[in-house]
Amino acid sequence: MKQMTLIAFVGALFVFASGPVMAADPIATLRGAALDIQPKAPMMTRQVNTDIREVRIYPEQPPTIPHKIRGYQIDLKTNKCLSCHSRTAIGVSQAPMVSITHFMDRDAQVLAAVTPRRYFCTQCHVPQHVNKPLVENQFIDADALLKK
């Protein structure tokens, strides 16, 4: 036991001592600057507010939100999203209704209202920003993949 502690101590000492050396290594990171330098914060980008539905890049993808949602309250008391997207609200709002899958419990039994497990919209659905990707993305759409 004592030996183990000693090994751990020496190990910790080694990691500590080699820390600065590792920071100096030219490792490609998203940070873009050494650890001891505070890089300039990038500009805030514009949130997409086109109200145009985006293509899903794979069938199960939760659709993105094509509008701003600043201040939208989603908690135990209420859900602002549902004030437009609920089954009864879309007559006035003309917004797309929440999918029927959101009414299903985990046994695929369809209930009368949105189930608690699908209640918190922004767990899956998110608004978008127009951003240049920080790293190259090699994602291939399923359709393109099938043709390969």
């Binding site: 201040g71 209420t78 549902l82 004030s83």
Partner: protein, 196 residues
């Protein structure tokens, strides 16, 4: 007692013996200006945000909620203060609201909403009062700044333009029908029309 009151009544209706007519009219006029100035100044003093958030019921509560919303912080720095939305700007309506607000003094004295929990308990009821007021005056306090006549629909997002032309322009809906909870947190909305 009654005889004294009758005497006073008679005195009030008798012409003045010691004061000139000029003194009474000019003096009365000046006194009137002083009274009116004092009345209106103190009224306007109660119509400021500093007065509203002078009590913790507002300051550590609904005012904190407002601070992250667009009506408090935004790109152009134009903002709404409490009375801009909660007190009518028109004088007679303002006085009517101020008289109704005497009940809030009662609430303050008896600590009706002296804690966050008490406030949350009454939130739906209080919110309903405001919604009813906005609904009754066609969201006048919104329109004091957001005048539909000067809205450029083409600069709005497609869904906003659609809703404003389809529902607001025709008078089918008023601002508060869709924009509830724009400046403060919403209460439990179950049972409120249009909400689930």
């Amino acid at each position: 007692m009654l005889a004294k009151a009758v005497d006073l009544w008679k005195l009030l209706w008798r012409p003045s013996r010691h004061f000139s007519l000029a003194f009474l009219t000019v003096g009365g006029f000046i006194a009137g200006i002083a009274f009116w100035g004092a009345f209106n100044t103190s009224l306007e003093l109660t119509n400021t945000e500093a007065f509203c958030i002078g009590c913790h019921e507002m300051r550590e509560n609904v005012y904190e909620e407002l601070r992250s919303t667009i009506h408090y912080t935004n790109r152009s720095g134009v903002r709404a203060t409490c009375p801009d939305c909660h007190v009518p700007h028109n004088w007679t309506d303002k006085i009517a609201r101020k008289m109704a607000a005497t009940k809030e003094v009662w609430g303050k004295v008896f600590g009706t909403i002296s804690t966050r929990e008490k406030f949350e308990g009454k939130r739906l009821e209080l919110a309903k009062h405001e919604w009813a007021r906005f609904k009754a005056n066609d969201s006048l306090e919104c329109r004091n700044c957001h005048d539909f006549e000067y809205m450029d629909i083409t600069l709005q997002s497609p869904r906003a333009a659609d809703h404003h032309t389809r529902l607001l322009a025709k008078g089918e809906k008023t601002c508060i029908d869709c924009h509830k909870g724009i400046a403060h947190e919403l209460p439990d909305m179950s049972g409120v029309k249009g909400w689930n």
